[in-house]
Protein backbone atom coordinates (compact mmCIF):
# COMPACT_ATOMS: atom_id res chain seq x y z
CA UNK A 1 0.00 0.00 0.00
CA UNK A 2 1.48 3.31 -1.10
CA UNK A 3 0.26 6.22 1.03
CA UNK A 4 0.49 9.96 0.69
CA UNK A 5 -0.33 12.38 3.49
CA UNK A 6 -1.16 15.96 2.74
CA UNK A 7 -2.88 18.86 4.43
CA UNK A 8 -5.81 19.77 2.25
CA UNK A 9 -8.26 22.60 2.22
CA UNK A 10 -11.53 20.80 2.75
CA UNK A 11 -14.69 21.60 0.87
CA UNK A 12 -16.62 23.60 1.91
CA UNK A 13 -13.75 25.78 3.00
CA UNK A 14 -15.21 26.89 6.34
CA UNK A 15 -14.76 23.40 7.70
CA UNK A 16 -11.06 24.15 7.94
CA UNK A 17 -8.00 22.24 6.90
CA UNK A 18 -7.89 18.47 7.01
CA UNK A 19 -5.00 16.10 6.65
CA UNK A 20 -5.86 13.34 4.24
CA UNK A 21 -4.21 10.02 3.73
CA UNK A 22 -4.61 8.86 0.16
CA UNK A 23 -3.41 5.34 -0.47
CA UNK A 24 -3.41 3.19 -3.58
CA UNK A 25 -3.28 -0.56 -3.05
CA UNK A 26 -0.95 -1.64 -5.84
CA UNK A 27 -1.99 -5.26 -5.54
CA UNK A 28 -5.54 -4.27 -6.40
CA UNK A 29 -4.78 -1.52 -8.91
CA UNK A 30 -5.24 -2.65 -12.53
CA UNK A 31 -3.95 0.58 -14.04
CA UNK A 32 -7.30 1.67 -15.48
CA UNK A 33 -6.28 5.30 -15.11
CA UNK A 34 -9.67 6.68 -14.06
CA UNK A 35 -8.01 8.38 -11.08
CA UNK A 36 -5.40 10.04 -13.29
CA UNK A 37 -8.05 11.30 -15.68
CA UNK A 38 -10.20 12.70 -12.86
CA UNK A 39 -7.39 14.08 -10.69
CA UNK A 40 -4.26 14.31 -12.84
CA UNK A 41 -2.25 16.24 -10.26
CA UNK A 42 -2.99 13.75 -7.50
CA UNK A 43 -2.30 10.43 -9.18
CA UNK A 44 0.15 9.09 -11.71
CA UNK A 45 0.65 5.78 -13.46
CA UNK A 46 4.02 4.09 -13.14
CA UNK A 47 4.43 2.61 -16.61
CA UNK A 48 6.89 0.04 -15.26
CA UNK A 49 4.41 -1.62 -12.92
CA UNK A 50 1.29 -0.44 -14.74
CA UNK A 51 -0.20 0.73 -11.45
CA UNK A 52 -1.24 4.07 -10.01
CA UNK A 53 0.15 5.91 -7.01
CA UNK A 54 -0.78 9.11 -5.20
CA UNK A 55 1.34 12.23 -5.75
CA UNK A 56 1.69 14.04 -2.41
CA UNK A 57 2.47 17.43 -3.88
CA UNK A 58 -0.54 17.24 -6.20
CA UNK A 59 -3.25 16.51 -3.65
CA UNK A 60 -3.85 20.19 -2.81
CA UNK A 61 -4.58 21.07 -6.39
CA UNK A 62 -7.01 18.19 -6.77
CA UNK A 63 -9.03 19.03 -3.66
CA UNK A 64 -11.05 16.83 -1.38
CA UNK A 65 -14.13 16.41 -3.57
CA UNK A 66 -12.17 15.25 -6.59
CA UNK A 67 -10.03 12.87 -4.55
CA UNK A 68 -13.10 11.25 -3.05
CA UNK A 69 -14.72 11.04 -6.47
CA UNK A 70 -11.61 9.46 -7.99
CA UNK A 71 -11.49 6.90 -5.19
CA UNK A 72 -15.18 6.06 -5.53
CA UNK A 73 -14.86 5.58 -9.27
CA UNK A 74 -11.84 3.29 -9.08
CA UNK A 75 -13.01 0.08 -10.82
CA UNK A 76 -11.01 -2.12 -8.45
CA UNK A 77 -11.66 -0.14 -5.25
CA UNK A 78 -7.91 0.25 -4.86
CA UNK A 79 -7.93 3.78 -3.38
CA UNK A 80 -8.40 4.54 0.30
CA UNK A 81 -9.02 8.05 1.57
CA UNK A 82 -8.85 8.78 5.31
CA UNK A 83 -9.10 12.15 7.01
CA UNK A 84 -7.08 13.39 9.99
CA UNK A 85 -9.40 12.06 12.68
CA UNK A 86 -9.27 8.61 11.21
CA UNK A 87 -12.58 8.75 9.43
CA UNK A 88 -12.46 6.59 6.34
CA UNK A 89 -14.00 8.65 3.54
CA UNK A 90 -13.52 5.93 0.94
CA UNK A 91 -12.49 2.39 1.79
CA UNK A 92 -10.47 0.17 -0.50
CA UNK A 93 -11.50 -3.42 -1.14
Amino acid sequence: MHSSHRRLQSSPAEEGDVVLTVAVDRELCAGNGNCVRLAPTAFRIDEGSGTSSAVPEGLDDAGLDLLVRAARQCPTNAIRVVDDDGTVLVESA
Binding site: E27, A30, G31, N32, V36, R37, S49, P75, T76
Partner: protein, 423 residues
Protein backbone atom coordinates in the same frame (compact mmCIF):
# COMPACT_ATOMS: atom_id res chain seq x y z
CA UNK B 1 -19.43 -34.10 -24.00
CA UNK B 2 -16.89 -31.38 -24.53
CA UNK B 3 -15.18 -31.30 -27.87
CA UNK B 4 -17.43 -33.72 -29.71
CA UNK B 5 -19.58 -31.04 -31.26
CA UNK B 6 -22.73 -32.00 -29.41
CA UNK B 7 -24.84 -29.61 -27.41
CA UNK B 8 -23.16 -28.40 -24.24
CA UNK B 9 -25.68 -27.57 -21.59
CA UNK B 10 -24.97 -24.70 -19.25
CA UNK B 11 -23.69 -25.67 -15.85
CA UNK B 12 -26.74 -25.82 -13.63
CA UNK B 13 -26.74 -22.81 -11.29
CA UNK B 14 -27.73 -23.27 -7.67
CA UNK B 15 -30.18 -20.39 -8.11
CA UNK B 16 -30.89 -17.60 -10.54
CA UNK B 17 -31.11 -14.14 -9.03
CA UNK B 18 -32.00 -11.07 -11.05
CA UNK B 19 -30.99 -7.61 -9.84
CA UNK B 20 -32.63 -4.53 -11.35
CA UNK B 21 -31.76 -1.65 -9.01
CA UNK B 22 -28.88 0.57 -10.13
CA UNK B 23 -27.10 0.55 -6.74
CA UNK B 24 -27.44 -3.21 -6.38
CA UNK B 25 -26.07 -3.86 -9.85
CA UNK B 26 -23.16 -1.51 -9.25
CA UNK B 27 -22.40 -3.30 -5.98
CA UNK B 28 -22.59 -6.67 -7.73
CA UNK B 29 -20.17 -5.51 -10.43
CA UNK B 30 -17.65 -4.62 -7.72
CA UNK B 31 -18.20 -7.81 -5.70
CA UNK B 32 -15.06 -10.00 -5.98
CA UNK B 33 -17.18 -13.10 -5.31
CA UNK B 34 -19.17 -12.59 -8.51
CA UNK B 35 -17.10 -13.63 -11.49
CA UNK B 36 -17.53 -13.84 -15.23
CA UNK B 37 -16.38 -17.45 -15.17
CA UNK B 38 -20.01 -18.41 -14.92
CA UNK B 39 -19.98 -21.18 -17.46
CA UNK B 40 -16.55 -22.58 -18.07
CA UNK B 41 -17.68 -25.11 -20.64
CA UNK B 42 -19.45 -22.59 -22.85
CA UNK B 43 -16.40 -20.38 -22.93
CA UNK B 44 -13.90 -23.17 -23.54
CA UNK B 45 -13.78 -25.71 -26.34
CA UNK B 46 -12.62 -23.32 -29.04
CA UNK B 47 -14.70 -20.33 -28.02
CA UNK B 48 -13.00 -17.02 -28.71
CA UNK B 49 -13.32 -16.14 -25.02
CA UNK B 50 -11.44 -19.21 -23.78
CA UNK B 51 -8.88 -17.91 -21.26
CA UNK B 52 -9.08 -14.27 -22.31
CA UNK B 53 -8.99 -11.27 -20.03
CA UNK B 54 -12.71 -10.60 -20.09
CA UNK B 55 -13.58 -13.87 -18.34
CA UNK B 56 -10.47 -14.00 -16.17
CA UNK B 57 -10.77 -13.28 -12.51
CA UNK B 58 -8.65 -11.91 -9.68
CA UNK B 59 -4.86 -11.64 -9.98
CA UNK B 60 -4.59 -12.92 -13.56
CA UNK B 61 -7.23 -10.46 -14.68
CA UNK B 62 -5.45 -7.55 -13.00
CA UNK B 63 -2.08 -8.55 -14.44
CA UNK B 64 -3.44 -8.63 -17.98
CA UNK B 65 -5.34 -5.41 -17.56
CA UNK B 66 -2.23 -3.60 -16.27
CA UNK B 67 -0.41 -4.50 -19.44
CA UNK B 68 -3.30 -3.94 -21.85
CA UNK B 69 -4.52 -0.72 -20.23
CA UNK B 70 -1.33 0.94 -21.45
CA UNK B 71 -3.02 1.11 -24.85
CA UNK B 72 -5.94 3.09 -23.43
CA UNK B 73 -4.02 5.97 -21.85
CA UNK B 74 -5.41 9.45 -22.61
CA UNK B 75 -2.48 10.41 -24.84
CA UNK B 76 -3.07 7.30 -26.95
CA UNK B 77 -6.81 7.98 -27.13
CA UNK B 78 -6.15 11.55 -28.20
CA UNK B 79 -3.93 10.35 -31.01
CA UNK B 80 -6.69 8.07 -32.26
CA UNK B 81 -9.54 10.53 -31.91
CA UNK B 82 -7.82 13.63 -33.22
CA UNK B 83 -5.35 12.34 -35.78
CA UNK B 84 -5.94 8.79 -36.99
CA UNK B 85 -9.68 8.47 -36.85
CA UNK B 86 -10.87 11.55 -38.80
CA UNK B 87 -8.94 10.60 -41.94
CA UNK B 88 -9.97 6.94 -41.82
CA UNK B 89 -13.58 7.88 -41.16
CA UNK B 90 -13.90 10.27 -44.10
CA UNK B 91 -12.08 7.98 -46.52
CA UNK B 92 -14.27 4.99 -45.74
CA UNK B 93 -17.49 7.00 -45.65
CA UNK B 94 -16.69 8.58 -49.04
CA UNK B 95 -16.35 5.09 -50.45
CA UNK B 96 -19.33 3.50 -48.73
CA UNK B 97 -21.86 6.28 -49.27
CA UNK B 98 -20.99 7.15 -52.87
CA UNK B 99 -24.01 5.29 -54.27
CA UNK B 100 -26.41 7.07 -51.92
CA UNK B 101 -27.50 3.87 -50.19
CA UNK B 102 -25.81 1.46 -47.82
CA UNK B 103 -26.35 -0.82 -44.85
CA UNK B 104 -25.48 1.23 -41.78
CA UNK B 105 -24.37 -1.91 -39.96
CA UNK B 106 -21.76 -2.55 -42.64
CA UNK B 107 -20.70 1.11 -42.77
CA UNK B 108 -20.28 1.32 -39.00
CA UNK B 109 -18.52 -2.01 -38.82
CA UNK B 110 -16.08 -1.17 -41.63
CA UNK B 111 -15.10 2.14 -40.06
CA UNK B 112 -14.82 0.63 -36.60
CA UNK B 113 -12.93 -2.49 -37.64
CA UNK B 114 -10.10 -0.55 -39.26
CA UNK B 115 -9.38 1.34 -36.06
CA UNK B 116 -10.04 -1.61 -33.79
CA UNK B 117 -7.58 -3.63 -35.88
CA UNK B 118 -4.90 -0.99 -35.36
CA UNK B 119 -5.44 -1.00 -31.60
CA UNK B 120 -5.47 -4.79 -31.55
CA UNK B 121 -2.26 -4.97 -33.60
CA UNK B 122 -3.45 -6.15 -37.02
CA UNK B 123 -2.21 -4.55 -40.20
CA UNK B 124 -5.31 -3.83 -42.27
CA UNK B 125 -5.06 -1.18 -44.93
CA UNK B 126 -7.96 1.27 -44.90
CA UNK B 127 -8.27 1.03 -48.70
CA UNK B 128 -8.53 -2.77 -48.76
CA UNK B 129 -12.29 -3.26 -48.61
CA UNK B 130 -12.22 -7.02 -49.21
CA UNK B 131 -9.87 -7.60 -46.30
CA UNK B 132 -11.93 -5.30 -44.08
CA UNK B 133 -15.15 -7.12 -44.96
CA UNK B 134 -13.57 -10.48 -44.19
CA UNK B 135 -12.46 -9.13 -40.84
CA UNK B 136 -15.96 -7.80 -40.13
CA UNK B 137 -17.21 -11.32 -40.84
CA UNK B 138 -14.86 -12.75 -38.23
CA UNK B 139 -15.93 -10.07 -35.75
CA UNK B 140 -19.55 -11.01 -36.33
CA UNK B 141 -18.76 -14.62 -35.50
CA UNK B 142 -16.70 -13.64 -32.46
CA UNK B 143 -19.58 -11.48 -31.24
CA UNK B 144 -21.94 -14.43 -31.46
CA UNK B 145 -19.43 -16.61 -29.62
CA UNK B 146 -18.91 -13.98 -26.92
CA UNK B 147 -22.67 -13.86 -26.38
CA UNK B 148 -23.03 -17.64 -26.48
CA UNK B 149 -25.05 -17.75 -23.29
CA UNK B 150 -27.75 -15.80 -25.14
CA UNK B 151 -27.39 -17.68 -28.44
CA UNK B 152 -30.44 -19.46 -29.75
CA UNK B 153 -28.25 -22.26 -31.17
CA UNK B 154 -24.96 -22.46 -29.21
CA UNK B 155 -23.66 -25.46 -31.16
CA UNK B 156 -23.81 -23.64 -34.47
CA UNK B 157 -22.10 -20.62 -32.91
CA UNK B 158 -19.37 -22.80 -31.41
CA UNK B 159 -18.59 -24.48 -34.73
CA UNK B 160 -18.51 -21.17 -36.61
CA UNK B 161 -16.23 -19.66 -33.97
CA UNK B 162 -13.71 -22.49 -34.26
CA UNK B 163 -13.53 -22.06 -38.03
CA UNK B 164 -13.30 -18.28 -37.80
CA UNK B 165 -10.46 -18.42 -35.27
CA UNK B 166 -8.38 -20.63 -37.55
CA UNK B 167 -8.82 -18.29 -40.52
CA UNK B 168 -8.34 -15.20 -38.35
CA UNK B 169 -5.03 -16.45 -37.02
CA UNK B 170 -3.76 -17.48 -40.44
CA UNK B 171 -4.86 -14.39 -42.39
CA UNK B 172 -4.51 -11.58 -39.87
CA UNK B 173 -2.65 -12.45 -36.68
CA UNK B 174 0.34 -14.39 -38.04
CA UNK B 175 1.28 -11.73 -40.64
CA UNK B 176 1.25 -9.12 -37.85
CA UNK B 177 2.94 -11.34 -35.27
CA UNK B 178 6.30 -11.71 -37.06
CA UNK B 179 7.17 -8.02 -37.42
CA UNK B 180 6.06 -7.27 -33.86
CA UNK B 181 8.03 -10.14 -32.40
CA UNK B 182 11.07 -8.90 -34.32
CA UNK B 183 10.54 -5.41 -32.90
CA UNK B 184 10.30 -6.78 -29.35
CA UNK B 185 13.53 -8.74 -29.93
CA UNK B 186 15.21 -5.59 -31.24
CA UNK B 187 14.14 -3.73 -28.11
CA UNK B 188 15.64 -6.45 -25.92
CA UNK B 189 18.91 -6.22 -27.84
CA UNK B 190 18.90 -2.46 -27.27
CA UNK B 191 18.62 -1.64 -30.97
CA UNK B 192 15.42 0.36 -30.59
CA UNK B 193 13.67 2.17 -27.77
CA UNK B 194 10.27 1.42 -26.25
CA UNK B 195 8.72 4.32 -28.15
CA UNK B 196 9.77 2.67 -31.40
CA UNK B 197 7.56 -0.34 -30.74
CA UNK B 198 4.14 -0.50 -32.39
CA UNK B 199 1.50 0.74 -29.95
CA UNK B 200 -1.05 -2.06 -29.90
CA UNK B 201 -2.36 -4.99 -27.87
CA UNK B 202 -0.50 -7.72 -29.79
CA UNK B 203 2.82 -5.98 -29.23
CA UNK B 204 2.35 -5.55 -25.48
CA UNK B 205 1.26 -9.16 -25.16
CA UNK B 206 4.40 -10.33 -26.96
CA UNK B 207 6.50 -7.96 -24.87
CA UNK B 208 5.13 -9.30 -21.58
CA UNK B 209 4.22 -12.90 -22.36
CA UNK B 210 7.18 -14.25 -20.40
CA UNK B 211 5.64 -12.91 -17.20
CA UNK B 212 4.11 -15.97 -15.55
CA UNK B 213 1.19 -14.06 -14.02
CA UNK B 214 -0.21 -13.24 -17.45
CA UNK B 215 -0.49 -16.91 -18.45
CA UNK B 216 0.15 -16.15 -22.11
CA UNK B 217 2.58 -18.91 -23.07
CA UNK B 218 -0.06 -20.53 -25.26
CA UNK B 219 -0.07 -18.88 -28.70
CA UNK B 220 -3.78 -19.60 -29.06
CA UNK B 221 -4.51 -17.52 -25.99
CA UNK B 222 -2.65 -14.56 -27.51
CA UNK B 223 -4.70 -14.96 -30.70
CA UNK B 224 -7.94 -15.06 -28.74
CA UNK B 225 -6.92 -12.05 -26.65
CA UNK B 226 -6.31 -10.03 -29.82
CA UNK B 227 -9.62 -11.27 -31.26
CA UNK B 228 -11.41 -10.14 -28.11
CA UNK B 229 -10.10 -6.59 -28.40
CA UNK B 230 -10.90 -6.49 -32.11
CA UNK B 231 -14.43 -7.68 -31.51
CA UNK B 232 -15.01 -5.40 -28.53
CA UNK B 233 -13.73 -2.42 -30.47
CA UNK B 234 -15.94 -3.04 -33.46
CA UNK B 235 -19.26 -4.44 -32.44
CA UNK B 236 -20.45 -1.96 -29.81
CA UNK B 237 -19.48 1.00 -31.98
CA UNK B 238 -21.33 -0.29 -35.04
CA UNK B 239 -24.45 -1.26 -33.09
CA UNK B 240 -24.54 1.99 -31.13
CA UNK B 241 -24.17 4.03 -34.30
CA UNK B 242 -27.28 2.30 -35.69
CA UNK B 243 -29.22 2.71 -32.46
CA UNK B 244 -28.28 6.41 -32.32
CA UNK B 245 -29.62 7.00 -35.82
CA UNK B 246 -32.71 4.93 -35.02
CA UNK B 247 -33.47 6.93 -31.88
CA UNK B 248 -32.68 10.29 -33.46
CA UNK B 249 -34.83 9.76 -36.56
CA UNK B 250 -38.13 10.69 -34.84
CA UNK B 251 -36.46 13.86 -33.51
CA UNK B 252 -35.24 14.73 -37.00
CA UNK B 253 -38.76 14.30 -38.37
CA UNK B 254 -40.27 16.54 -35.68
CA UNK B 255 -37.58 19.19 -35.87
CA UNK B 256 -35.14 19.20 -38.83
CA UNK B 257 -32.81 21.61 -36.99
CA UNK B 258 -31.81 18.74 -34.68
CA UNK B 259 -29.71 17.45 -37.58
CA UNK B 260 -27.75 20.70 -37.60
CA UNK B 261 -27.28 20.50 -33.87
CA UNK B 262 -25.82 16.99 -34.13
CA UNK B 263 -23.50 18.06 -36.93
CA UNK B 264 -22.39 21.35 -35.41
CA UNK B 265 -22.13 20.49 -31.71
CA UNK B 266 -19.95 17.49 -30.88
CA UNK B 267 -20.83 17.59 -27.19
CA UNK B 268 -24.49 17.23 -28.18
CA UNK B 269 -23.55 14.35 -30.50
CA UNK B 270 -21.70 12.78 -27.59
CA UNK B 271 -24.75 13.15 -25.33
CA UNK B 272 -26.85 11.50 -28.06
CA UNK B 273 -24.46 8.56 -28.04
CA UNK B 274 -24.48 8.31 -24.25
CA UNK B 275 -28.27 8.48 -24.20
CA UNK B 276 -28.37 5.72 -26.82
CA UNK B 277 -26.02 3.56 -24.79
CA UNK B 278 -28.23 4.10 -21.73
CA UNK B 279 -31.45 3.11 -23.50
CA UNK B 280 -30.00 0.39 -25.69
CA UNK B 281 -27.01 -1.25 -24.04
CA UNK B 282 -25.34 -3.78 -26.30
CA UNK B 283 -25.48 -6.21 -23.38
CA UNK B 284 -28.87 -5.52 -21.77
CA UNK B 285 -28.39 -8.19 -19.10
CA UNK B 286 -24.90 -8.80 -17.70
CA UNK B 287 -24.36 -12.17 -16.07
CA UNK B 288 -22.16 -13.23 -13.18
CA UNK B 289 -21.55 -16.43 -11.27
CA UNK B 290 -21.17 -16.56 -7.49
CA UNK B 291 -17.80 -18.16 -6.76
CA UNK B 292 -18.70 -18.05 -3.06
CA UNK B 293 -21.74 -17.07 -1.02
CA UNK B 294 -22.07 -13.32 -0.88
CA UNK B 295 -24.62 -10.61 -0.23
CA UNK B 296 -25.71 -7.70 -2.40
CA UNK B 297 -28.13 -5.08 -1.19
CA UNK B 298 -29.01 -7.21 1.83
CA UNK B 299 -29.87 -10.20 -0.33
CA UNK B 300 -27.94 -13.42 0.16
CA UNK B 301 -26.56 -14.91 -3.04
CA UNK B 302 -25.65 -18.60 -2.65
CA UNK B 303 -22.53 -20.11 -4.12
CA UNK B 304 -22.85 -21.13 -7.79
CA UNK B 305 -25.86 -18.88 -8.31
CA UNK B 306 -26.31 -17.25 -11.69
CA UNK B 307 -26.74 -13.54 -11.09
CA UNK B 308 -28.48 -11.59 -13.85
CA UNK B 309 -27.81 -7.86 -13.76
CA UNK B 310 -30.63 -6.16 -15.63
CA UNK B 311 -28.69 -3.13 -16.83
CA UNK B 312 -31.45 -2.09 -19.22
CA UNK B 313 -33.87 -1.75 -16.29
CA UNK B 314 -31.37 0.01 -14.01
CA UNK B 315 -30.57 2.51 -16.75
CA UNK B 316 -34.22 3.64 -16.62
CA UNK B 317 -34.31 4.36 -12.89
CA UNK B 318 -36.39 7.59 -12.60
CA UNK B 319 -34.61 8.63 -9.39
CA UNK B 320 -31.35 8.84 -11.35
CA UNK B 321 -32.39 9.72 -14.87
CA UNK B 322 -35.51 11.84 -14.39
CA UNK B 323 -39.27 11.50 -14.65
CA UNK B 324 -39.29 10.24 -18.22
CA UNK B 325 -36.45 7.72 -18.15
CA UNK B 326 -37.77 5.86 -21.22
CA UNK B 327 -37.56 8.97 -23.40
CA UNK B 328 -34.57 9.67 -25.64
CA UNK B 329 -33.50 13.02 -24.24
CA UNK B 330 -29.83 13.88 -24.73
CA UNK B 331 -30.34 17.12 -22.79
CA UNK B 332 -31.55 15.42 -19.61
CA UNK B 333 -30.00 16.52 -16.33
CA UNK B 334 -28.51 13.82 -14.15
CA UNK B 335 -26.38 13.48 -11.04
CA UNK B 336 -22.74 14.20 -11.98
CA UNK B 337 -21.65 11.03 -10.17
CA UNK B 338 -23.82 8.91 -12.46
CA UNK B 339 -22.53 8.23 -15.96
CA UNK B 340 -24.88 9.38 -18.69
CA UNK B 341 -24.56 5.91 -20.25
CA UNK B 342 -25.71 4.32 -16.99
CA UNK B 343 -24.16 0.92 -16.47
CA UNK B 344 -23.88 0.05 -20.15
CA UNK B 345 -20.10 -0.24 -20.01
CA UNK B 346 -20.35 -2.36 -16.88
CA UNK B 347 -18.41 -1.38 -13.79
CA UNK B 348 -15.89 -2.70 -11.35
CA UNK B 349 -12.83 -4.64 -12.46
CA UNK B 350 -14.42 -5.73 -15.73
CA UNK B 351 -15.53 -2.28 -16.80
CA UNK B 352 -15.11 -2.05 -20.56
CA UNK B 353 -11.52 -0.92 -21.26
CA UNK B 354 -12.61 0.64 -24.54
CA UNK B 355 -15.34 2.85 -23.07
CA UNK B 356 -13.28 6.02 -23.55
CA UNK B 357 -12.45 5.05 -27.13
CA UNK B 358 -16.09 4.53 -28.03
CA UNK B 359 -17.87 7.01 -25.77
CA UNK B 360 -15.16 9.51 -24.87
CA UNK B 361 -14.78 10.88 -21.40
CA UNK B 362 -17.86 11.07 -19.15
CA UNK B 363 -19.84 14.24 -19.57
CA UNK B 364 -21.72 15.69 -16.62
CA UNK B 365 -24.59 18.10 -17.24
CA UNK B 366 -22.84 21.15 -15.87
CA UNK B 367 -19.23 20.20 -16.45
CA UNK B 368 -17.21 22.67 -18.48
CA UNK B 369 -15.30 20.85 -21.18
CA UNK B 370 -11.56 21.00 -20.90
CA UNK B 371 -9.28 21.12 -23.90
CA UNK B 372 -8.33 17.55 -23.06
CA UNK B 373 -11.91 16.32 -23.35
CA UNK B 374 -12.50 13.41 -25.70
CA UNK B 375 -15.85 12.88 -27.37
CA UNK B 376 -15.40 9.29 -28.48
CA UNK B 377 -15.36 7.69 -31.87
CA UNK B 378 -19.08 6.93 -32.07
CA UNK B 379 -19.94 10.64 -31.71
CA UNK B 380 -17.61 11.41 -34.61
CA UNK B 381 -19.18 8.65 -36.68
CA UNK B 382 -22.66 9.90 -35.84
CA UNK B 383 -21.81 13.45 -36.86
CA UNK B 384 -20.28 12.22 -40.11
CA UNK B 385 -23.28 10.13 -41.20
CA UNK B 386 -25.81 12.78 -40.17
CA UNK B 387 -23.80 15.37 -42.11
CA UNK B 388 -24.24 13.09 -45.11
CA UNK B 389 -28.01 13.01 -44.60
CA UNK B 390 -28.41 9.49 -43.26
CA UNK B 391 -32.02 8.29 -43.01
CA UNK B 392 -33.73 4.88 -42.99
CA UNK B 393 -34.43 3.42 -46.45
CA UNK B 394 -38.25 3.28 -46.64
CA UNK B 395 -38.09 0.47 -49.22
CA UNK B 396 -35.94 -1.81 -47.09
CA UNK B 397 -36.87 -2.07 -43.40
CA UNK B 398 -34.14 -2.83 -40.87
CA UNK B 399 -33.82 -6.26 -39.29
CA UNK B 400 -33.01 -7.16 -35.71
CA UNK B 401 -30.40 -9.80 -35.01
CA UNK B 402 -32.59 -12.78 -34.21
CA UNK B 403 -29.64 -15.06 -33.44
CA UNK B 404 -29.39 -13.63 -29.95
CA UNK B 405 -31.62 -12.69 -27.05
CA UNK B 406 -29.78 -9.37 -26.91
CA UNK B 407 -32.62 -7.37 -28.35
CA UNK B 408 -30.64 -4.17 -28.89
CA UNK B 409 -28.64 -5.66 -31.76
CA UNK B 410 -29.31 -5.27 -35.46
CA UNK B 411 -28.47 -7.61 -38.33
CA UNK B 412 -28.99 -4.92 -40.98
CA UNK B 413 -30.14 -1.32 -41.17
CA UNK B 414 -30.50 -0.10 -44.78
CA UNK B 415 -30.14 3.67 -45.12
CA UNK B 416 -30.08 6.36 -47.75
CA UNK B 417 -27.60 9.20 -47.91
CA UNK B 418 -28.08 12.54 -49.57
CA UNK B 419 -29.16 16.06 -48.67
CA UNK B 420 -29.65 16.29 -44.92
CA UNK B 421 -33.09 17.85 -45.39
CA UNK B 422 -34.31 14.94 -47.52
CA UNK B 423 -35.29 12.82 -44.49
Amino acid sequence: MEGDGTVLLLERPSATITLQAYAEIRAALFDPNLSRSFDKRSFADGNVRDGVVSISHGARHRSRRRVENTQFRPERLRLYERELFPAVLERILDRETASGRADLFEVGALVSVVLAARRAGLDVRDDDRASQLALVGHVETFSQASAILDARDPDVVRRLAREALVAFEREYVRPAWGPREAAVDALRRGEIGAEDLPHDILTVLLLHRDEAALELQDDGRVVREVATYLQGGTHTSAQTLINSVDLLQPLFERDPTVRDRVVDDRSYAQRCVHETLRLRPTTPRIKRRAEAETAVGGRTIPRDALVVLDVAAANRDPTLFGERPDAFDPDRTIDPDVARWGLSFGGGPHQCPGRSVAGGFPLASSEALSSDHLYGLIAAMLQAVVRRGVRPDPQHPPARDTRTERYTRWASYPVLFGAAQAG
